[in-house]
């Protein structure tokens, strides 16, 4: 790879409470301005992979580098500074249900950046517009929104401060195909528009093809394949073939 990696996992290992390792020497990287999609079966550690990269979980061994800097070696202040450069859309949107929609979107602006509530609200409404939500929803509460709208609000919250790295954890899971397509489009718009680096997780191959420049397949705590979306259909890698063709027989066995 000729580009400098924006984000890189080097031999990352992680296990919980003496169980089997979830990540077992994971190597992966994504170049600046590119969009990486991680695919893999349920419980294979996809969420753990990105949580380690966000600094929400500490790896047992190995390194995670952002712009060549090991994030585990960062002190409190530098770590907070790192958080200010990332945006995350969580699996279930993870909106704060005691706060209104605009307060959710403006959460970082109000609580960490010291922006006045008035200015924060303006910026929140602007961000809601970017995900095609009108100012009308700004004062409603997350529990009154549909799943698709909650994802949009989560996306607005992730992009409102124009972060350098965006993480999307299963952005389309649980949505109907039309809403999924809309969310995928919004993701592509935001990533291209902001010129930021994106790391997404999905089970949904259509989604992976739409939002990814590069696809990586995670299995047994390691990356077993990486390639472009076009290569997904051409490779004869047995893991990818089994996943793409949706067969229960193959090198991977279902947990059920």
């Amino acid at each position: 790879m000729t580009d400098i990696a924006k984000l890189e996992w080097r031999s990352v290992r992680k296990r919980f409470d003496g169980g089997a390792p979830v990540l077992d020497g994971l190597d992966l990287s994504v170049a600046a301005g590119r969009s990486l999609v991680i695919i893999g079966g349920s419980g294979q550690g996809k969420s753990v992979t990105i949580k380690v990269a966000m600094g929400l979980m500490q790896a047992d061994a190995g390194q995670v580098l952002v712009d060549g800097q090991n994030i585990n070696a960062l002190g409190g202040k530098a770590r907070r500074e790192l958080f200010s450069r990332i945006g995350v859309l969580f699996q279930g949107a993870a909106l704060f249900d005691s706060l209104s929609v605009w307060e959710n979107v403006a959460f970082r602006l109000i609580n960490a950046d010291g922006v006045s509530r008035k200015d924060a609200k303006e910026r929140a409404i602007e961000a809601l517009g970017r995900v095609r939500l009108g100012a009308g929803v700004a004062d409603s509460y997350p529990s009154s929104l549909s799943g698709g709208m909650q994802k949009r609000v989560g996306l607005a919250r992730a992009v409102v401060t124009n972060p350098e790295i965006l993480f999307f954890d299963e952005p389309t899971t649980g949505l109907d195909p039309i809403t999924s397509a809309a969310i995928n489009e919004l993701i592509v718009d935001q990533v291209r528009g902001l010129g930021c680096t994106a790391v997404s997780i999905t089970h949904d191959l259509a989604s992976a093809r739409t939002i990814g420049d590069q696809i990586a397949m995670l299995h047994d705590g390691k990356i077993v394949w990486t390639g472009s979306p076009a290569e997904l259909d051409l490779t004869d890698n047995p893991y990818v073939r089994q996943f793409v063709d949706g067969r229960s027989l193959g090198p991977m066995t279902s947990a059920v």
């Binding site: 949580k51 966000m54 929400l56 907070r80 958080f83 200010s84 990332i86 945006g87 995350v88 969580f90 699996q91 279930g92 993870a94 909106l95 704060f96 249900d97 959460f107 970082r108 609580n111 960490a112 950046d113 919250r157």
Partner: protein, 268 residues
């Protein structure tokens, strides 16, 4: 691993159980201690979230007033009747006002208010924070550059610690009033004499020591709610477990610390 357990002679089994639970208890004490320390540091250092603090003050304090008041008036009344009966066995019915006042202010006011708070508030805190953990809201908050200890834990610890003494003061007044009500209405005490006896007898320290206890209990209630909520895992069942643990452990810690504080205060 199961083979190893099976190979162990049955006589060792109790030791195994004792060993395991001792280790688990020590681990728990350690992690609660670390949690409490982090909570205290967040209370005493910037940034603060005053809005969250005010919100908790209302949720914990104001909305607990009815339960605390009702508990206090019935307890004061029942205590009055019992002391009157007991006092009657050596012709000392007349000390009833003094003993009621002492029992309420030093012991029952703070302990009952704290127990009501354990049921109401500790459970609610554990459920709310536990649900936030289960739905990744805590993770989300961290990625939004906001420390959940400062935003969630510190305001609750501070609010409960400050507000329980106030609730206790209310419980003291209502509890003594409960005793007075029974004395005047049922036992033919003279109202003026009852009030004068109570006022002359009570020392500032009787009330003050109760309020100090209450502050400690308030901290315990919020700490247990936050700790169990924060460490909840395993979805809805995990949140349910966290709620139960928060209430049970608050109650036990309230009784235990009550004994030790009383020892300290009665010696002083």
């Amino acid at each position: 691993m199961t083979a190893g357990v099976a190979a162990l002679p049955a006589v060792f089994k109790p030791f195994r159980v004792i060993g395991h639970s001792t280790l688990a208890a020590l681990r728990m004490v350690g992690s609660v201690g670390v949690f409490a320390l982090r909570g205290l540091i967040s209370v005493f250092t910037l940034p603060w979230f005053p809005q969250q603090f005010l919100r908790q003050l209302v949720a914990i304090g104001f909305f607990s007033l009815p339960v605390v008041g009702l508990t206090a008036i019935f307890t004061g009344a029942a205590l009055g009747l019992n002391i009157y009966t007991g006092g009657g066995r050596f012709n000392a019915e007349q000390v009833m006002p003094q003993i009621v006042a002492l029992g309420i202010t030093r012991e029952l006011g703070p302990v009952l208010a704290a127990l009501m708070l354990a049921g109401r508030v500790s459970a609610a805190i554990a459920a709310e924070i536990g649900a936030m953990r289960a739905t990744e809201q805590i993770d989300a908050m961290r990625t939004l550059s906001t420390d959940p200890f400062r935003y969630l834990v510190a305001p609750r610890l501070l609010a409960a610690t400050l507000v329980l003494p106030l609730l206790t003061l209310v419980a003291d007044i209502i509890g003594v009033a409960g005793g007075w009500l029974v004395a005047v209405r049922i036992l033919d005490f003279n109202s003026t004499v009852y009030i004068r006896n109570t006022a002359n007898f009570l020392q500032l320290w009787d009330v003050g020591s109760g309020l100090i206890k209450a502050a400690v209990f308030g901290f315990i209630v919020a700490l247990m709610g936050c700790y169990h909520g924060y460490s909840a895992n395993g979805g809805a069942r995990g949140v349910g477990r966290a709620t139960t643990h928060a209430v049970v452990s608050s109650a036990i810690l309230i009784f235990a610390s009550d004994y030790f504080l009383t020892t300290l205060f009665t010696r002083a």
